[in-house]
């Protein structure tokens, strides 16, 4: 049954856009975008244990890279996505170089500063010809190529889905191999990891770079999907939203990124109807509640339930098979 879960999920993700309105498809595209960003943050905060309070900044850098490339250089939208990833990989490694030598708490401080000050940098008058200042940059949603009978929203959904599948497979591959074990070892015991021959600082800054790359790619896709890139969409609050999403979704799990993305896309919208302050309050209360009672988030809870159900299934199976044996004394194995 477990082997079927992933293909079933993919098939339903492919069918979904034909069943719902274009607006819902747009929302689902944003869920995909958030899932990619959250996976990036999870590589850093969950697997590598480095706290980032400023990942919104890399999302913003990715979005602006895509917007400027499309608006000023007329680069096709699909080419801007990997380019935004490369730019953010560079920015992440640069920022991660000193971070590799820092204790966790100081990294939290440095990323906090980055997240808070970036909107101001984007508004700066000397970069205004590129970033559009407070006005931001307006983009158009791409049309489906080759005359495919898809609406713009549907096409962008499939495009994002494809990017997401590639990136998720990449992360899965990275994490289960040598690199992934080194990253987790550094999180759990940096001294032991260094003693085992792992270059701690190098892996830390590399993880920071890859994490920023994922988030930057998400930013580029998000900018294209929303059709607008402006400094106030990337306030410090975005970084906190991402952090909250990954904590609620489940740290150190790949599926946690998807749960977290669904959470930050839909829950605040519902809460926002009650009051402007409600989404923030929900984020705050949930952050503390998850740390207290559910440290592994939704993904952890889901895995836990699944494990119990399998265990339950095994015991009932064992019981029925032992009955079977009693009835047929001639057989030597069930």
């Amino acid at each position: 049954m477990r082997k079927l879960a992933l293909p079933a999920l993919l098939v339903s993700a492919c069918v979904l856009p034909f069943l719902v309105s274009d607006y819902r498809v747009f929302q689902l595209t944003l869920v995909i975008v958030h899932a990619i960003a959250l996976l990036g943050l999870n590589l850093l905060t969950g697997y590598s244990g480095q706290i980032s309070l400023g990942h919104g900044a890399f999302y913003a850098i990715g979005a602006y890279t895509a917007a400027i490339l499309i608006d000023h250089f007329h680069v096709p939208y699909w080419a801007t996505v990997p380019l935004a990833g490369i730019v953010c990989l560079g920015a992440g490694i640069l920022f991660g170089l000193p971070a590799g030598r820092l204790e966790n708490l100081y990294l939290a401080l440095a990323t906090f500063a980055l997240g808070v000050s970036l909107p101001q940098i984007l508004k700066y008058r000397h970069v205004e010809p590129w970033t559009g200042g407070v006005q931001g940059v307006t983009l158009t949603k791409p049309e489906a190529p080759l005359g495919l009978p898809l609406s713009r929203d549907q096409w962008l959904y499939y495009f994002s889905l494809a990017v997401m599948v590639v990136l998720f497979a990449g992360a899965w591959n990275l994490l289960r191999g040598h690199t992934g074990r080194a990253i987790v070892a550094i999180r759990d015991n940096p001294i032991a990891a260094a003693a085992a021959g792992i270059d701690v600082a190098r892996y830390k800054s590399l993880t920071f770079g890859v994490s920023a790359m994922y988030t930057g790619i998400a930013g580029a896709l998000g900018g294209i999907a929303v059709q607008f890139v402006g400094p106030d969409s990337f306030s410090f609050f975005l970084s906190l939203r991402l952090l909250c999403g990954i904590v609620v979704g489940g740290l150190s799990t790949i599926s946690g990124a998807i749960y977290g993305a669904l959470f930050i896309q839909f829950v605040p919208n519902i809460a926002g109807d009650i009051s402007k302050a409600a989404p923030l309050a929900i984020y705050g209360v949930l952050l503390i509640a998850v740390v207290y009672v559910m440290p592994s988030g939704i993904a952890g809870a889901v895995n836990d339930v699944a494990r119990r159900m399998r265990a339950f299934g095994r015991t009932t199976e064992a019981r029925s098979s032992s009955k079977h044996r009693e009835n047929q004394p001639g057989r030597n194995h069930a």
Partner: protein
């Protein structure tokens, strides 16, 4: 020249605020080795409390003292109820609780008082004293109140038994516990003092930056820069760092990069200090034994 002097003096006044908030951060850092990301929002809530008291007809200084007292109790209570359960968890868990606290305080303030910007009165007279034109009375008042607070704190930590017990609990909790010091209580006390300090800082900066739920985000960033610059485990360093950051921020803002990039100064300071001298100007260099 006169404008430069003016910029430096108002930088010192702002620096006083950053310094006091940095001092609050350092006090909690010394005891727990954690940086309280909710310190700014705590100060913001205290300032709203003072604003409501003043609007209810309370005289300024009475409201001031009441706010400081209530903030002290609230700070201690938060430590007991919210932070205590995660005390021994990894740094990530505690940072997440701080961030959660920050979001809750911010939204509660927004919920109760709304997001419109409010003015906050200054307790100091409007007309200039002794005919000086370099510095406003409120800015002068900030520096005076700050100096008084730092002096009081110094006397408290240096010459009282309770102050000694708090320092002992911060330096070596286990030995202190064996000497009969109630370490948990000292931690709560430290949080209370930090919250009270933050309340003073909030009430003094509110006439300048005005009152709204996000008034402290920039101030907190400067306070981080100040604490790091001075050395995050050095209270004296936090005060000096505060004044330095205030002056640098003001002079750079006026002459070099313009006011639009002021927050970036803090970013560069923070990253610069962390890269070049992580212990800050007056901090201890930490050596880890492997």
């Amino acid at each position: 020249m006169e404008t430069l002097l003016h910029q430096i003096l108002s930088g010192l006044a702002a620096g006083g605020i950053y310094g006091s908030l940095a001092l609050a951060l350092v006090m909690i850092f010394q005891a727990t080795h954690l940086v309280n990301f909710a310190q700014g929002e705590l100060a913001m809530c205290s300032t709203y409390l003072a604003w409501s008291l003043i609007h209810a007809g309370c005289p300024y200084w009475l409201a001031f003292l009441a706010t400081v007292g209530i903030s002290f109790v609230a700070g201690a209570l938060i430590e007991r109820c919210v932070i205590r359960p995660v005390e021994n968890k990894p740094a990530l868990a505690v940072v997440l609780v701080f961030i959660g606290l920050m979001l809750i305080l911010n939204s509660v303030a927004g919920w109760i008082f709304g997001y419109t910007v409010k003015t906050f009165p200054s307790p100091f007279p409007d007309h200039p004293l002794f005919g000086n034109t370099y510095i406003g009375n409120h800015e002068l008042g900030i520096i005076a109140v700050m100096a008084l607070m730092v002096a009081l704190l110094y006397l408290f930590f240096r010459y009282t038994t309770l102050g000694l017990a708090m320092r002992a609990a911060a330096v070596n909790p286990d030995s202190s516990r064996l000497c009969g010091i109630r370490v948990g209580r000292m931690l709560a006390l430290g949080w209370g003092l930090a919250a009270a300090l933050g309340a003073v800082a909030g009430m003094l900066i509110a006439p300048i930056v005005f009152l709204d739920p996000s008034m402290m985000s920039g101030v907190l960033l400067y306070a981080f820069a100040a604490a790091l610059l001075g050395g995050i485990d050095s209270p004296g360093g936090a005060v000096v760092g505060g004044f330095l950051v205030g002056v640098v921020e003001n002079v750079m803002g006026a002459y070099v990069i313009g006011t639009e990039l002021k927050l970036t100064v803090a970013l560069i300071l923070i990253v610069g200090v962390l890269v070049m001298r992580p212990a800050g100007l007056f901090g201890k260099v930490v050596v880890t034994r492997v």
